[in-house]
């Protein structure tokens, strides 16, 4: 398993559109992806889960990836969080 803390850079936080962009990426991987903020843990492939974190701009999110393609998934996720998720 690989794990990493990232920060939300989006002005409006992880709202509907960024959450959608995020799950469209996570869904491509076989690995299990878990995101957590404070003490809430959710399935990183679930848009309802991602939005329920109510993560605002600047929030710290812990990403955990476990599975066959974990390295690649983590790399792309970190890259995605380094940008504004508004696509």
């Amino acid at each position: 398993m690989v794990s990493k803390v990232v920060f939300v850079k989006n002005k409006n936080g992880l709202h509907m559109r960024p959450a959608e962009v995020l799950v469209r990426l996570t869904s491509q991987f076989d690995s299990e992806i878990t995101l957590s903020k404070d003490d809430i843990r959710i399935n990183g492939k679930s848009i309802l889960g991602v939005m329920s974190l109510a993560a605002e701009n600047g929030s710290a999110i812990t990403i955990e990836v476990a599975g066959s393609d974990e390295e690649n998934a983590m790399k792309l996720l970190i890259e995605m969080f380094s940008k504004d998720l508004e696509v």
Binding site: K45, L48, M51, S52, A54, S82, K83
Partner: protein, 579 residues
């Protein structure tokens, strides 16, 4: 009930006034019954559910195509997100798992799963996320409709416009309603970021949301007034209130019509000074608006959008296509293309390292000069596109003459390359700079000798002159366009331009603020550029002022010591001329 003139207060969500009959909009929802499914039928039940989800997704796709023409991108994105909800494993897989586990019908389980999420969200502190529950309900109803065929949207077919009253409006409700049939929106729940508010503003219809008791207090067909500026709703208003609002409404309509009628008239002052009124745009789709508002061209086309939201750099061909389209559509008017103006605050990629102080860092022309290959790709695309219309090129963030010379040298190199390769381009494209750095403002007289025009970027000029970030709320009051230092700098930039026989415009907030627009006109600017939406009323302003009067007024005003004194000095003129 029965009392006249009752008032409900809600949250103002979209400005304007509406007077009309109420129309209570609700879904004919039926209770979702629980049924046990025999073991041998479970497989079919799961299939039935999967099929319903597929059909719902198909509907969403069709709906997106249908509204693509008349609604904005934001609404489309909402439906795309709804589709993601229908692909959410925590919704779909969980429902299927529970149908198998509990041996209960699909609609009951699905309803339960979605409602679980809704109650989860309704406890969130952040109102933006809390208000998403309307979106989930929308998805829920969409699938339930497919499963039972019993739940349908109330048929909305109106010939005379009504004020729509609903507990909550989902994105599909508003898409079905469309334009022209609704003159106001009221919902029981929601806030300023809720979907209803966004759509109402997009449609230009007054709206009040979060009115809590609207659907229970208002009856179908009741005469009501909604005030989208204050958030007030009057039920069965008395004659006095009706008269008051009718006259306000008449003013609102008259003002809109007056502005519309001006769209094709020149922006000329009473005493005959013609001002070029142009638009700031970011995307080619905004050109429709630019043409409709009768702008005299594009005073600022921000090219950053081409470079954002992607990992690689836009190709020459791609940029050439976009610039050509804009130039062609706006011709014979001018398009001022501002070369890439990015800094570490807007982009974090291979181009720029993170900076402690991006506002004073490698941004605008500095970034381009340090990546000449990237810069030349953009210049080539612009030069090639220049044969398709009237393009002007503008460099941002120039801080002194040597920077300008470097940029011009690269421009000349690009011209020579194209010439050598035999590629058609217009080598006489006018070159200009944004004057937005105080050092450029102070040396404007020198810079003016090297360019064909100036455009004063007031947003940055104010921020750099006063050393105050307008995004920082604790010092926001310092960021004042009427600061005498800012106005005196602007006056000297305009003088320098005119002394060297080049024209000077202003793009930035100062161009679209009534007080500062007056001062700018008085100081002698040749062009004002602003968001297309601001053009009609600034055109009206220009047509109602006298340049000679403003000239005297402005040059007196900038001698005053504080922004408060300057505002006070101009204000009586604003009132006298009624803008």
């Amino acid at each position: 009930m029965g009392d006249k003139n009752r008032v409900i207060n809600g949250i103002p969500a979209s400005p304007g006034i509406s007077l009309g009959r109420a129309y209570i909009y609700h879904r004919d929802s039926k209770t979702v019954n629980k049924r046990l499914i025999p073991s041998e039928k479970i497989k079919d039940e799961v299939k039935r559910f999967q099929r319903a989800v597929e059909l719902a997704i198909e509907d969403l796709t069709k709906l997106q195509e249908k509204i693509a023409k008349n609604l904005d991108q934001n609404t489309l994105k909402i439906f795309s997100a709804h589709q993601a909800v229908l692909e959410d494993p925590e919704v779909i897989e969980v429902t299927i798992f529970r149908i198998r586990q509990e041996k209960v019908n699909a609609e009951y389980i699905f309803n339960d799963v979605i409602n679980g999420w809704i109650s989860n969200y309704s406890t969130l502190d952040n109102s933006f996320f809390r208000e998403r529950t309307a979106d989930f309900e929308d998805v829920l109803y969409r699938v339930l409709t497919k499963l039972t065929g019993e739940i349908s949207y109330k048929n909305f077919d109106k010939t005379t416009p009504v004020i729509l009253i609903a507990r909550n409006l989902s994105p599909s409700d508003t898409a079905e309603i469309g334009r022209g049939t609704v003159c106001g929106l009221v919902t029981d729940i929601g806030g300023q970021t809720s979907h209803t508010a966004i759509v109402a503003r997009g449609l230009g219809v007054p709206a009040v949301v979060g009115a809590k008791v609207a659907t229970s207090e208002i009856d179908d067909g009741m005469l009501i007034i909604i005030d989208g500026n204050s958030g007030t709703i009057y039920l069965e208003p008395d004659d006095q209130t009706i008269q008051k609002y009718k006259s306000l409404l008449a003013k609102q309509v008259a003002f809109k019509t007056e502005l519309q009628e001006l769209n094709n008239l020149p922006a000329v002052t009473i005493d005959g000074r013609l001002i070029e009124l142009s638009a700031n745009i970011e995307l080619p789709v905004e050109i429709d608006d630019v043409l409709e508002k009768g702008a005299d061209g594009i005073g600022l086309y921000r090219t950053e959008f081409l470079y954002l939201v992607r990992n690689d750099l836009p190709s020459e061909e791609e940029q050439f296509q976009v610039y050509s389209e804009i130039a062609r559509r706006v011709a014979p008017n001018n398009v001022i293309i501002r070369t890439l103006d990015l800094g570490a605050d807007k982009i974090s990629s291979q181009l720029i390292k993170e900076e402690i102080n991006p506002a004073l860092g490698q941004r605008g022309i500095r970034l381009c000069l340090s990546h000449p290959e990237m810069f030349k790709v953009q210049l080539r695309a612009i030069l090639r596109a220049s044969v398709n219309g009237n393009i002007r090129v503008m460099f941002p963030m120039i801080s002194g003459y040597s920077e300008l010379e470097q940029a011009k040298a690269l421009f000349q190199e690009t011209c020579d390359d194209l010439k050598q390769a035999g590629i058609s381009h217009d080598s006489s494209v006018p070159l200009g700079i944004m004057v937005e750095v105080p050092s450029a403002a102070v040396t404007a007289n020198d810079l003016a000798k090297g360019v064909d025009f100036f455009s004063i970027g007031t947003n940055d000029l104010i921020q750099y002159t006063i050393a105050a970030d307008r995004g920082n709320s604790s010092i926001a009051s310092l960021y004042n366009p009427c600061h005498p230092a800012v106005l005196r700098l602007v006056a000297s930039i305009i003088d320098s331009a005119h002394n060297n026989s080049i024209w000077v415009g202003v793009c930035g907030v100062m161009a679209a603020n009534p007080l500062t627009a007056c001062i700018l006109l008085g100081l002698g600017v040749d062009e004002l550029s602003m968001s297309p939406n601001d053009i009609p009323w600034i055109r009206r302003l220009i047509r109602s002022v006298n340049y000679d009067e403003l000239r005297q007024l402005s040059f007196e005003a900038i001698k005053l010591g504080t922004s408060e004194e300057i505002e006070k000095y101009i204000e009586p003129y604003r009132i006298k001329r009624q803008f």
